[in-house]
């Protein structure tokens, strides 16, 4: 019986190791491997079947292109420290500007040293309008300012930068909720998108981050950064499996053009290479 043949089980063991090394997490790996075993008849097509299983997984939570349901469209960018939020906002503002949208950026990290200067630099490069109240201001007040400005000046898009925060800090998670509440006072459905930025190097804690941020605010998508390194970002499988949050974009470098819409097939190809 081919399924109990040495070749297939050796192939499956190799697959298991590859998936674990990609940060997919034991539970998710076991479920994928079980599916693989039940669908693969010979070891020579195991990789192809695996690709199909993984792509299916990601397509289950895939969402369509972002449409601005009303103007301004408001995006809030959140996540733990150092994942690439500020840089990604630079990239998003470039992407939307080149699509002809008028972009307003809210300098919502009023805490970290030189966070305002860092974001200001990106806005100068992309031509996005930069709204800031300086270091030490109230983050919710800056977000309110930016959305208010966009409303009165009929701008297309507001992107809110927020300070990196560990999901274990209750008061910081409460501050994030407050930023969103304040913005919703101006536009009921805002923020229309809440993008959680996750570093592709992150291990199983990435799942905990997603759970906690989702508990606090309505996370609508993930941006997976630093995929130009050697980490595979397999944690997104565990996140989409358990929480149903789709990956919207990937970061593949430190420059403004280094952002791509998420492509499940390409992502799985890279993961298995």
């Amino acid at each position: 019986d081919a399924l109990s043949g040495g070749d297939l089980s050796a192939a499956i063991e190799e697959v298991e190791e590859l998936l674990i090394l990609s940060d997919m997490g034991m539970e998710t790996v076991e479920s994928v491997v079980d599916t693989l075993r039940s669908r693969t008849k010979r070891s020579d097509n195991a990789v192809q079947v695996l690709k199909e299983i993984l792509v299916e997984h990601l397509k289950e939570v895939e969402t369509s292109e972002t449409i601005f349901s009303e103007l301004p469209h408001v995006i809030s960018v959140v996540g733990v420290n150092g994942t690439g939020k500020t840089t990604t906002i630079g990239k998003l503002s470039k992407m939307y500007s080149s699509l002809g949208k008028s972009v307003v950026v809210a300098s919502g990290d009023t805490f970290r040293a030189a966070a305002v200067e860092q974001l200001k630099h990106w806005c100068e490069q992309t031509g996005a309008e930069f709204i800031s109240q300086g270091h030490g201001a109230d983050a919710a007040s800056v977000a309110f300012d930016a959305v208010n400005h966009a409303l009165s000046k009929k701008k297309d898009l507001v992107i809110i930068d927020t300070a990196g925060r560990l999901h274990t800090r209750h008061n910081l998670m409460e501050e994030l909720k407050k930023i969103h509440r304040v913005v919703a006072r101006l536009i009921e459905d805002a923020p229309h998108e809440v993008l959680l930025v996750i570093d592709a190097n992150t291990g199983q804690n990435g799942l905990m981050q997603a759970r906690k941020f989702l508990d606090a605010v309505r996370v609508t998508g993930i941006i997976l950064t630093k995929l130009d390194g050697t980490a595979k970002g397999g944690i997104v499988f565990a996140i989409s499996r358990e929480l149903g949050i789709p990956v919207k974009y990937i970061g593949i470098g430190e420059k403004l053009e280094d952002l791509r819409p998420f492509d499940p097939e390409m992502f799985v190809e890279a993961l298995l290479s």
Partner: protein
Amino acid sequence: MFESLQEKLGRAFRILSGKGRITEKNIEEAVRMVKLSLLEADVNYKVVKEFINRVLEKAVGEEVLRSFSPDQQFIKIVRDELISVLGEKISRLELQSNPSKVVLVGLQGTGKTTSCAKLAYRLKSQGKKPLLVAADVYRPAAIDQLEQLGKQIGIPVCSGDRKNPLGIIRQGIEDATRNVNDVIVFDTAGRLHVDEDMMSEVREIVKIVKPDEVLMVVDSMMGQDAVTSANKFNDALELSGFIVTKLDGDARGGVILSIRHVTGKPVKFVGISEKVDGLEVFHPDRVAGRILG
């Protein structure tokens, strides 16, 4: 179910030994549980395999099978082995020369700039006269970031012409000599271990500085791939140790076991908050408990 590994193992041994004496099969089950727990904690897969083999050898050698409390003896073997790999005694900074020089390196966003300020603050509170050198010319406002932190803690920051990293570090060494600083802490740009140009730049920086310490700053929530970058940085620069950051989060921190195991270099400090006083000396036993979960 928030059961600690110790409780899980205890339960497994009791259930399995309920029918009489402990068997080889019980040990296999215990090993499987430890393996799962370490993988959940982000310890690298290959490191887990090697670690488990060492534990098995010890378990056989110490005749856990014949012990009165096999679960406790087994977990003790695991814990002791973990602590011995993590580093038995707390490792300190080796500052031999005058001025002594410490260079911080690592991947993007791990906490290098913040850790430079924390280290300088710690050295100042120990009576030293540190100088900070801002050699990251790539990230927007990176130099501003270190300058602002330096101002907060009353420590001077050298930024040279703000354009050329090698020029900046040479300026820093000159300034330190002129102002009689006894220790210099150098911040460098985040870089990928697969970026040839940036790796050759950091090799050049280390060659010019001839530092007493080259510390790689690693994020405690990193997963399986951490060993790749740790190995590459260690091969390129001969690291003297690590700083592991963001331990105030709830990542289990298995990356610490991995990087320690594959490079043999000690973890010298851990970052436990975003503030300048958020740096602690590495305690292997505390981290062991955290990794085991």
